[in-house]
Each structure stands twice: as C-alpha cells, then as structure tokens.
C-alpha cells in the first residue's frame, strides 16, 4: 500500500498495517508523539487497533521540550 506520511509518499509491501506497526517500521518511539490519520487525531490507546488503508494521509507530530518549568 501507499501512504502519505508527513507529506511524503511511502510505498510499503504490507497489505495491512496498524499505526503501531507503522511507527515501529519508521523507528519512531510513541512517547513524544501525536498521530493524525486523514485529518483525525487518533489517541494512542487506539494505535494497536487502528488499521491503515492504501491512500491514507498520516501526520506524525513529534513534540519537543520547553514551556513550563
């Protein structure tokens, strides 16, 4: 399937893939991120059960520190 991840087209051999599996493939740890799939924020608790489909547009935001203490 082909996904758009942070604006870049990515072609993967997998026929089915969850958000968790995609993050693992991209080597992105889940601690600092928020994920948007087709303009919807998918909460972390649903990463394991949310399947991705061909053509999905995914935005992975990595938070960086600074602001409070």
């Amino acid at each position: 399937m082909t996904l758009t991840v942070n604006g870049e087209a990515k072609t993967l051999e997998d026929a089915s893939l969850t958000i968790n599996e995609l993050l693992e493939k991209l080597d992105i740890p889940v601690e600092h991120i928020a994920v948007e799939v087709n303009r919807d924020i998918v909460p972390k608790a649903r990463f394991a059960e949310t399947g991705l489909n061909d053509g999905d547009v995914i935005e992975i935001v990595r938070f960086v520190g600074g602001g409070k203490s």
Partner: protein, 266 residues
Amino acid sequence: MIRINERQEDFKPGLTLLGLRDKMKPDADIVIYNGFPVPDDRDIQDGDEMVFIKRGETPSREELESLMVSRHSPGVHEKVKNASVGIAGVGGLGSAIAIALARLGIGRLVLADFDVVEPSNLNRQQYFVHQIGEKKVEAMKENLERINPYVTVECHCVKLDSENLPRIYGEVDVLVEAFDRPDMKSMLVNSYFESYPDKYVVAASGLAGSGNANDIQTRLLGRRLYLVGDRVSAAEPGRGLMAPRVGVAAHHQANKVLEIILGGEL
C-alpha cells in the same frame, strides 16, 4: 438599542457622540466609540457602543468591569465572559497565557501545576520575586485577581496524568497545553482526545532559544488540535528558554483560544 458604559439605552435618531457625553458624563476626557478612542463628534447609529471615562478617576466596582473591556471589539466581552478555558501548566507559556486570557475577561480559568516559583523561573514566567517558594497556581491566582477580579480562577496543585486530566478539564471549552516535557505534551493530547474527541486543544512545541520569532506559527492538526511553535527548537543544553520567544508562542496560543471562542464553534 445603544450601549453606554455597558448599560443598554434606547436609541433615538439625532444623537451625537459628544452630545451624549455632555449629557451622561460631561467631565469625561476619554471617549471610546465601538472599541476605539475617537476625538471628534459623530452621529450615533442604532447598535453603537460607547464608553465615557474620566482619566484618573477610580470607578465603582459595578462600573469597573465595563470600563475594563471598553477597548475590546464590540461583542467580544459577552462571548469571552461565558467561556471556560483550561491551562495545563502555569510556567513560561501557561503564566503568560493566563494573564492574556484574564485581561480579555474569560469567565473561568482552570489552572493546574504542581510546581513552586523558583528564581530561575523569573527570566520568563509571570511571577514576582516575593512569590519565590509559593505554589505556582496560587501565586498566579493572586496575580490574576489583581489584574481582573471578574475572572473566576480554579486551581489544582497536582501533577497531571492521563487519569486526572480528563476529570479536571472535563468542563472547559478549550484546553491549552503548556507543559515543558514532550512526553507530557503527548500524554495530554492523547488522553484528552481519548475522552473528549470534540473539544479543542491548543498545544505548543518548539519555542526555545532566540531564533526568528516569525518561525513560530499556529497550525491546525486534525480538526480540533492547534499546534503552536517552530516544531523543532527544543529546550536543551545551549538553547535556553527566554521571555521573548516563549511569550510569542504563549500569545499565539492565547490568540487561538480567542479565535475559537469568537468563531462560534463551541
């Protein structure tokens, strides 16, 4: 109807601005017409709002609130007065956001932070030297009450986590993320949208150092998550947190809160 010092009055054709001033408050030397001070006379139209102020005069408590908001654009006060905004963390971002929103006259602010004021906070956080050692939420409540006593401030001196956060912020219209650590930012966004997918969150990421202020932008993610910052400038050794850039990001966040409230999407 017209509005004079926040009181409704009947509109009568033929009224002029300075004519009204002479009738209502002849010693007023500041005339604010639809949110803007004007020097000259003009005809009054139905729906106009004016405020007459005598410079240096301490108004009665009843009158103070209407005078405080006289420079708001017309119609803003009623909307923000009915709004409730959560601020998660009252450090560099949260303290500046709280002050901006209190000056706006947001009806209710819900603050949470477990920290106390430290000397190293004072290069960017909106506290005072005499407040060192005080709980931040209590010090901020005190500061906000001095700025605008008409804002209800609710304080929670707790460390927020995925359990207590949806409970504390269940009733707010907009939640502002103002944490420092990236894992906490992620925790807030993920746990809050898990409980409240239809609420608004205004978060920040990338505001450290002294880089170009124009690199700090507000971006919509999904349908209800706004992210402020340059997205890359992390606080780290060699790149500190300082008042100007933190303030730019904080006021982007506060302004987005205002836009959401005025946008009528709540």
